[in-house]
């Protein structure tokens, strides 16, 4: 038996980090959903398990609900959708939309009740509120018989750093509930939890499309194969994400560091599908200053979205350009700004001082005949 395990589609999520390209980011989630269906078809999976948080919120636009359902219904096999903590089964939820009853292959798991399928028995654990300290899987009792036992749940595996337990799921929940595989969702990066024998019977597939900067291993789904009851599942993570969210953090130290970074950024693949965040620190050498401007230009021009956060300041010992400033107030001001920037503990103040020096540098270039 082979099925596709995905979760946390977060349809309709806000993408404030994407600036003016937030709409594009949202649209890409739908495209990623289509890629998931395509993958499922190509892999000839029996069914799809969507382990919660299909939508970012129950109050998303109903057109989006329909769009999502339309994509899902295009899969020829059954699709089982689990209400998660972002889209719990409450009055007015997305699951009350009539579209879920229009397509026979779509099943919204509304009850914590075993569903007997052809080759397996599915134990879904739908959520009915945003927060709970209860283990959603604790109701599961493996039914007697010779079918594969699957669980479908949404929550936080114990041991994952979290502010407070939110639908806690034991790390050995699959063993406790005597399940062959427990498909879980909630965390956006792929995580697998092997049992004592090393068999992976519980995993987060991660979101199908990266949601923000900093996600470790997102933009994937899991293809799960189980030969039979008690058999060890075989998991394969497949890429479905369309956008890249890399973050480059550099501390500039030597002359040429910034041009090297610029070259690196220029060589990044698929910039039209990339949201790039660059964080700079350290010192900026006089000869590298023009590279900083170029870097910003490259970010703006080539990438879907680029963000440059520079706290780098001109190198204290590098007086070459300051020495080139005309004698008098401007040169003295440059020295004062450079010294203050080097010594101020406030990052915001440091950034202002660095920027002031940059402007002086720029104006000096302009003033030179």
């Amino acid at each position: 038996m082979k099925f596709l395990h995905t979760s946390d589609w977060q349809m309709g999520m806000k993408a404030t980090a994407a600036g003016s390209h937030a709409g594009r980011v949202r649209q890409e989630r739908l495209a990623a959903a289509q890629r998931v269906i395509g993958l499922a078809q190509r892999e000839n999976v029996s069914f799809i398990l969507l382990a919660g948080d299909t939508f970012e919120d129950n109050a998303v636009d109903r057109v989006l609900v329909r769009q999502t359902a339309e994509i899902l219904q295009s899969f020829p096999g059954p699709v089982f959708l689990l209400p998660g903590n972002h889209d719990p089964l409450v009055p007015g939820s997305v699951w009350e939309h009539p579209v879920w009853t229009e397509f026979a292959n779509l099943t919204v798991c509304r009850e914590a009740q075993a569903l007997e399928l052809d080759a397996c028995i599915l134990h879904p654990c739908p959520l009915t509120s945003k927060y709970s300290s209860q283990d959603p899987t604790k109701w599961i009792r493996r039914s007697p018989g010779e079918k594969i036992a699957l669980g479908l749940a949404h929550g936080t595996v114990e041991g994952v750093p979290a502010a407070e337990p939110d639908y806690p799921i034991p790390r050995d929940a699959a063993a406790q509930r005597d399940l062959d595989y427990l498909a879980i969702g909630h965390w956006h990066s792929y995580s697998a939890y092997p049992d004592a024998a090393g068999a992976i019977r519980m995993a987060y597939p991660g979101t199908h499309e990266t949601t923000k900067f900093g996600e470790r291993d997102s933009g994937n789904v899991l293809l799960v194969e189980i030969d039979g009851p008690r058999a060890v599942p075989r998991l394969h993570s497949a890429r479905t994400g369309g956008l890249h969210w890399p973050t480059i953090e550099r501390t500039l130290a030597h002359p040429g560091d910034l041009p090297a970074l610029l070259a690196e950024v220029r060589n990044l693949p698929d910039p039209g599908q990339t949201l790039l965040r660059i964080r700079l620190d350290g010192v900026l050498h006089a000869d590298d200053r023009s590279a900083l401007t170029q870097l910003q230009e490259v970010l703006d021009a080539r990438f879907l979205h680029g963000s440059l956060d520079s706290a780098a300041i001109p190198q204290p010992g590098d007086d070459s350009w300051i020495a080139g400033l005309p004698l008098g107030p401007c040169r003295n001001a440059a020295i004062a700004l450079r010294d203050r920037a080097a010594h101020t503990p406030d990052p915001a103040s440091k950034a202002v001082h660095a920027q002031a020096l940059m402007i002086l540098f720029e104006l000096h270039e302009k003033a030179e005949p």
């Binding site: 600036g19 937030a22 109050a59 007015g92 107030p329 001001a333 202002v352 660095a354 003033a367 030179e368």
Partner: protein, 898 residues
Amino acid sequence: MILHRVQVAHWRSILDAVELGPFSEQINVIHAPNGTGKSSIFEAVRRALFDSHQVGGLEIEAVRPWGRALAPRVEVEFSRGQVRYRISKSFLDHPSAQLLRFEDGRFLPLAEGRSADARLREILGAAAAPGRGLSKPEHWGWAQALWAPQGSLRLESLSPSLTENLRAALGAQIEDESGSRLEQLIRERYAAYFAAGGKPKRGRHAPPVAAWQAELPNLEIERQRWLMAQEAYEQASRNVEDARNRRAQAVRESDELRHAAGSAQRQFALWTQIQTELESLRLTEKNSAELHRHLNDSLQRIADARTEVAALEQSIAASEQERAVLSAEQKGLQLTLEHAQQAKQVTETQRAAERLLSAQLHQARDFISETTAAEALRRRTRSIREREEAILSLQRNRSSLVAPSKKQLAEIRRLHSEIALARTALEVSSIRLRVRPDKDAVVRRQGEADPRFLSPGDATEFTGSPSVEIEIEGFGTVRASGPEGEFPRHEAALSSATERLARLTQSFPSPDPEPLQQALDEATEIERNIHEAQERLGELLEGKEASHWDAELAALTASIQQRLARFPEWASNPPSVQTLQTAYDELRRQTDQAVQSADVALEQARNACAAVEQRAGTMEATLVETRRSLESARRRLAQWTQDGKSDLLRQNESNEALLAWNVARTLTQKAQQQLDAIPGDPANALEKLQRQLTALDDSAARARDEENTAIGRLHTHTTEGPYSKLAACEERIAALKERIARETLQMDAVRLLHDTVAEIKAAAIAAVAAPVEKAAGRMIARIAGPKLGSIALTENFAPCGIHPAASSQRVGLDNFSGGEQEQLFLVCRLALAEVLARQERQLVVLDDVLNATDTGRLARVLALLEDAAEHLQIVILTCHPERYRALNGAEFFELKPK
């Protein structure tokens, strides 16, 4: 620059050419009366050096001598940088300019026309000329600070070029040309964001960030709107959930209640059945109990009646025996009562004898009293008679005595005195004529009929008033007279007093006061005796008439006679009250004892008789009542036994009734126990349950309605898709905030750069101005002493205030007197001149200054000028040359009026 010579013609009041010079390189004083043209010469020098020769306009036209077609001309010789020049200019008509340079011992042309103007400004370091207009101080170059035109000693501000020259001269290179350009770019960048006051620009020149920031509140409002919509959606969802829960709960409760109502219904049926049975059993129990009680009561009544009849018959027999005993006792007591009554009659006789003796005793006591009182009355009446006779005798004596009253006697005495006084006055006022003849003489007084015959040696006196006239026979008439008037008045007074005395004393035996006093004393003594006798009589009469006491005595006497008529022996032998009292007391004691014994015996006998009679009566009544009760009891017994049943039969019937009662009671208790086993009132409980059921059904219906309403509202919110709207809005806000943050960083950086440059520049300028401030401060201290402190200059070297030694606050120049102000401006100009003269000697022109400076300070100013002349050429224009005569080494040039 050093000025050597000036020649001016056709300039305002100067018609003929006037030449001044050669000037000293130190101090020169050009003096002339007012209106002569001192300031015109200074003006001509300025026009020659700084104005284009082609200037036009009203101002230069005003220079032309009024009413003359003369072209103003001026020629100035000066040195600059060890080179001597001559400039000749003609204005207005055929304007011309020629610049010559002293070379090889003579002046050779250097430039002409406009070239001469330009070259000259270049030599002098002056700013570009203002075209065809006249130059202003800002075009004068260094002369702006060094030359003080008339009335313009005040130094407001210096041109940038002069300022730069000053700074350069002070050796402080603030910035070069490229620095200025960079600074200008910084200012331009700053001006793109900020207004002159440092605030961000507004309006159409505002930077884009202003528009973004203005957009932000609208987006925030929109965000709040969607946030509220999102909350409303979530609340609507909860409302639906709550309503569903309430409806489900109501249905659950309703089901439970229906189950409870079924149980209650069954319970109620059982309860009703037992209740009916119980009522029947209770009735049976009641009837059995009543029958048993009735039979039992009949048995008891019959037994009681029989007992009562027997007891009553016994009581009647005993009462009849007792009645016989009481009758015998009653007869004995009647005899005893009769004996007591007889003894009582004997004591009445004894009481009559006692009353008789008592009456005799009272009579004797009254007789003795009346006899004593009659004797006292007799004595009183006798004394009354005696007193009345004595008073009568005294009254007769008083009536026979004629005596004046005290008042009359006093009047008599006063009249005697008055007469004596009148006589004395009369005597004093009379004419006395004493005649003592030596021989017999017949003397006849005029008015007297009879003559007087005087013997020899006998003296005879004639008195009279106002004159005494006598006729002595044989001798003649003698008349003596005195003053008139007094005598008749005294004579009249004497006559009046004598007449009144006679009238007053005519009823008395003598007018003499002494006998009259004696008679008055006697009368007074008699009256006092009469008064005392009357008082004693009054005491005896006790306010009553004497006849009263006589009548009293007569009445007593009559009473005594009456008592003597009853007891004649008392006339000879008066009774003894004591003896009679003793006899009476003994008799009374004996009688009281007898009466008391008889009364006691009689009372005892009467009480005993009454008691026996009462007992007999009571017994008779009791006997009657007992017989009546006996009759009643017999009737009742007959009634209760008239059915003819035996006592045994009655007892059997009673036992049967008791048995039936016990059975009924046991059954009732069992039924009651069954009823008690059913809690509460099933009917009431059933009714309540049915009401609750109805209420729950209503509640469920309401919850269903609420749920439907909530679902409708939720649907409205859901259709809106608030989260998606909120997300889009927050994304726009985030993008906008990012742009604002970038732009704000840019603005903050520009401001920081601008402010830092300005701050550093201000510090550099302050450092440059310090030497000038120091020099000016030193000079003003020489003039005015240390109290004015140091002078503060602006960044353009214009004085802006004073830091007094006694205060930390800067004081504006306007707060100083006119004299001090001109001294302050003078020292500032001299200090600046010293700076500018570091490379070469400079010309300082002071046109009509120091007019407000007092003589004391002027002397110090002159000393200062002498010192300054070491580095400066000083030209002073004044109409008071005497004020500058003390200047050592000064050259004086007089401009004579035409």
